[in-house]
């Protein structure tokens, strides 16, 4: 039984670590209703500034903390001033994407400056251990807990009892009203970003010392766990974020206790989905509080889509169709095959994120479902590859829709977080369900693409196959958008309350959108499986989901031609920039930022 005490203590210790990030996220969400995906990057910056201070400047701990806090706060202020403030009057999805772009840029800058090798960040505290239960805790545990709880308390006092704190709260409740009452919202935002960034930086420093290890991959993990903890505690609720973090730590620890280590994150993300479904405003929100998202949808940019004449489209299709007959290298063809596969995924995502407004951050899960279904059916049942791919599409449509259905009742950013979690869950189930998916070993020897008994191994044949499939899916989607379903989907996206009042069932139409979109994504995953011959749980990862979302935004939400154009651009440009290998992600992040800033409706406009 004493083990349970140990699991509990360990859970609390880890929760403690999560709380440092979650508090900063909660503060920012409280004021700007924004989930700051760059918080983990500030945490990364803090860790590396700390490394410079400790290892190169040999500063004592208090000075290290102050230095890190100041530099991180400056980074936060820069992000607020140049990254987010210009987007104030933009659509609500813009700042979210901007923070993703900022995190790319920051992570990559750190990587370029310090190299990707992990570094040791020695603790500056004496190494004494106190026995508790079967384990021990050290001074850093206490310091982290101290910083977490003190900052939560200080924030609470600041928000409650100071004038600026009052302004912050006023701005978080009703931005326009606060402005009318003379609150300087920009100053409030600056304050909040400064505080949150200082906190984020210091937490990176402390956690780095805690593990005596910092590396550039720590950013995304910190953001993910912080977001889970924050949403569990109730987005925007600072004390809630602390409690949510501790709860997350406990659930993970008990998960390990019962099922083993490889189930840890599965429990973390399941906790998130369960909380979002049962109590979308977090565990500590009053039951029937008004939802924190505004009721009327300005989530996407109003725009007039660029009209592309039919003949231009036909000419483009014809050109791409005859391309393999021209003297182009297989490399170009292979790159375009990648573009067509991404294009299918983008068609799927532009339908669910653009047309019906469910901005999914876990779309790669649909690829994985299609790929595994198709691979396993063709390997174990010897199903012809063509049929297996279709089966993969159908499975992805069915299973994907069922899995994502808990997020149907959510709105705005919550949908993105829920889908992110569902995507992670799918990947973790693939990792752990070894009897079916072969776990981390993956599936090898997947038969190549074939049609009516002929193997398609020549790059030209694969090119035509994937191109034709993509064009057919695109035409079907255009036809769908032209039907009553197209306008129904778009109505739900624009204003789901009004849509319901006119008889549109959200579950029914969101399901239909995911069924159609899931099929396209599943087919893309199925083709990829047969093309690669080997897949495992890492083949379809979160980066794919984010890439697909960028494609969709680039092309214009809901815009079929835009999705295909975006896919060609985002597969092609990194290939063009191959010479600048190390700078590619940096360029990608900057492009995303510029796009969000200057053309939030995408190249071809929202439909």
């Amino acid at each position: 039984m004493s083990s349970w005490l140990d699991y509990t203590i360990n859970g609390l210790i880890v929760g403690n670590v999560y709380a440092l990030v979650a508090v900063g996220l909660a503060l920012i969400f409280g004021v700007s209703r924004l989930i700051n995906f760059a918080q983990g990057s500030i945490y990364l910056v803090g860790a590396y500034i700390g490394w410079v201070a400790v290892v190169q400047l040999h500063t004592p701990l208090p000075l290290t903390i102050i230095l890190v806090a100041v530099v991180a706060a400056l980074v936060g202020l820069i992000i607020e001033r140049f990254g987010l403030r210009p987007l104030q009057n933009s659509v609500r999805i813009a700042p979210l994407l901007a923070t993703i772009g900022i995190s790319f840029v920051l992570d990559q800058l750190v990587m370029l400056t310090f190299s990707p090798n992990p570094r040791a960040l020695p603790s500056q505290l004496p190494d004494v251990r106190f026995q508790i239960g079967g384990g021990t805790i050290g001074p850093l545990d206490l310091l982290i807990a101290g910083v977490g709880i003190t900052s939560a308390l200080l924030l609470f006092v600041f928000l409650r009892y100071t004038k600026l704190g009052w302004a912050v709260r006023a701005a978080s409740q009703d931005r326009d009203a606060a402005m009318q009452m003379g609150v300087d919202v920009n100053r409030v935002n600056q304050t909040v970003f400064g505080i949150a960034a200082a906190l984020g930086g210091v937490s990176g420093l402390l956690v780095g010392m805690y593990y005596n290890q910092i590396d550039t991959a720590m950013s995304l993990q910190a953001t993910l766990k912080g977001v889970v903890a924050e949403v569990v505690g109730g987005a925007g609720n600072v004390p809630g974020a602390v409690v949510g973090s501790l709860l997350l730590g406990l659930v993970e620890s008990y998960g390990i206790a019962v099922f083993g280590t490889s189930y840890r994150n599965l429990f973390a993300f399941l906790l998130l989905v369960v909380v979002l479904v049962l109590r979308p405003n977090g565990l500590f929100a009053s039951a029937r509080q008004a939802p924190p998202e505004p009721l009327t949808g300005t989530f996407i940019a109003p725009s007039r889509p660029v009209r592309i004449p039919r003949w231009a489209f036909a000419v483009a299709v014809a050109l791409f169709a005859i391309l393999p007959l021209l003297p182009v290298s297989f490399y170009v063809l292979q790159t375009l095959i990648n573009a067509w596969l991404l294009g299918m995924l983008a068609l799927s995502l532009t339908l669910v994120a653009g047309t019906i407004g469910q901005v999914s951050l876990g779309h790669a899960a649909l690829l994985a479902i299609g790929a595994y279904t198709s691979a396993l059916l063709s390997l174990t049942l010897n199903l012809p590859v063509g049929l297996a791919i279709i089966a993969g599409g159908l499975m992805s449509a069915a299973l994907g829709t069922i899995l994502i259905s808990p997020s149907f009742r959510l709105r705005g950013h919550y949908v993105s977080i829920a889908t992110l979690a569902i995507g992670e869950i799918v990947s973790l189930v693939i990792l752990n369900w070894e009897s079916v998916t072969r776990g981390p070993i993956g599936i090898s020897g997947i038969p190549p693409l074939s049609l009516f008994g002929y193997d398609l191994v020549d790059p030209k044949a694969v090119y035509w196959f994937s191109f034709v499939v993509m064009v057919v899916l695109a035409l079907l989607q255009v036809r769908l958008l032209g039907s009553h379903l197209g306008r129904s989907f778009r109505a739900i996206r624009d204003d789901d309350i009004a849509a319901r009042a006119y008889g549109l069932s959200l579950n029914r139409y969101k399901s239909l959108a995911f069924i159609f979109g899931g099929f396209a994504a599943g087919v893309s995953g199925g083709i990829a499986a047969h093309l690669y011959s080997y897949i495992n749980h890492e083949t379809f990862n979160t980066q794919q989901s984010i890439l697909a979302l960028t494609v969709v935004i680039l092309g214009g939400l809901g815009n079929v031609v835009g999705a295909l154009l975006g896919a060609v651009a985002l597969v092609g440009l990194p290939e063009v920039f191959r010479i600048a290998a190390e700078y590619r992600i940096l360029i990608y992040g900057i492009v995303l930022l510029l796009l969000v800033r200057f053309r939030p409706q995408g190249l071809l406009g929202t439909i």
């Binding site: 109505a491 008889g503 069932s505």
Partner: protein, 282 residues
């Protein structure tokens, strides 16, 4: 058709609380078929909350809603729309990126038959299939509805017809309100709830809207109206209900209600903002 029910819509003891505040407090209301009842009252009196309760966007804590003699309390807005209840919204909720035509076609959604076969379980999949295949019955239905939409838009003269393909976000405020009403009419409602249809309109536009509502009433449509402009209320209403702080404080023919001391007090007592807004809106 034998109509067993006394009134088309009937509310009994309808109550909705938010925290410590009772937004709607034991409201009784009866609306006969073909009638027009107006609800007036200062801002925050609970009028829009009452609409939300009737249309299913919110659930009452107590009390019942009956429509055509059936208890429909707590039904989802989708089901209520399918039963013929249409509404407009106080702040105007058109679908910004949809064209005027598409906005109004959404209003006709509950009347789709060919493309939405009433088959259990696989109905949604059939709907998806029919939307993609579009057999002639589906095309004909869509064509018929488009013609209907044009006819409805024609009721607004030249206000909307020339802008039929423009996205709703590009319309003027008044035109967006008109689109909302057109959308409600496309549902062929048996009960129409209008939430401040003339808010933000100038006097001539208001007069135009008043004419339209009168026409609809004359056509036999049953209407529940929230309106601040008393003159319009007096002209159109069979009966007026006055709400204050969630309670019904007066009910009766317009002239009678207007002279009720409780009503005057409610408006003068704390309803200054209400009257002020009424002036500014007018």
């Amino acid at each position: 058709m034998g109509e067993a029910y006394a009134s088309l819509l009937s509310l009994r003891g309808l109550t909705r609380r938010f925290g410590g505040l009772t937004a709607v407090d034991g409201i009784d209301l009866d609306l006969a078929k073909g009638g027009l009842v107006s609800i007036i009252g200062p801002n925050g009196a609970g009028k829009t909350t009452l609409f939300n309760l009737v249309t299913g966007l919110d659930r009452p804590d107590a009390g019942t809603v009956s429509f055509e003699g059936r208890d429909v309390t707590g039904l989802s807005p989708e089901r209520l729309a399918a039963q013929g209840i249409a509404r407009t919204f106080q702040l105007g909720r058109v679908f910004g990126n949809l064209s005027v035509m598409d906005n109004v076609l959404i209003g006709a959604h509950t009347r789709l038959r060919a493309v939405k076969p009433a088959v259990p379980v696989i109905g949604p999949l059939l709907e998806l299939g029919l939307a993609l295949l579009r057999p002639s019955a589906v095309r004909a239905e869509e064509e018929r509805l488009r013609e209907e939409v044009k006819a409805i838009l024609a009721r607004f003269g030249e206000r909307l017809l020339p802008r039929i393909d423009q996205p709703a976000y590009s319309l003027s405020y008044a035109n967006r309100r008109r689109v909302e009403i057109a959308r409600a009419l496309a549902l062929k409602p048996r009960l129409l709830l209008l939430d401040e249809p003339t808010a933000g309109m100038n006097p001539s536009e208001t007069a135009e809207m008043q004419g339209l509502v009168a026409e609809l009433k004359a056509e036999g449509l049953t209407i529940l109206l929230i309106e601040h402009k008393l003159e319009m209320v007096m002209r159109l209403s069979d009966r007026v209900i006055v709400m204050d702080e969630g309670k019904k404080i007066a009910e009766g023919p317009g002239e009678q209600v207007r002279g009720d001391p409780k009503v005057i007090e409610a408006y003068l007592g704390h309803g200054l903002s209400g009257t002020a807004e009424q002036e500014s809106a007018a």
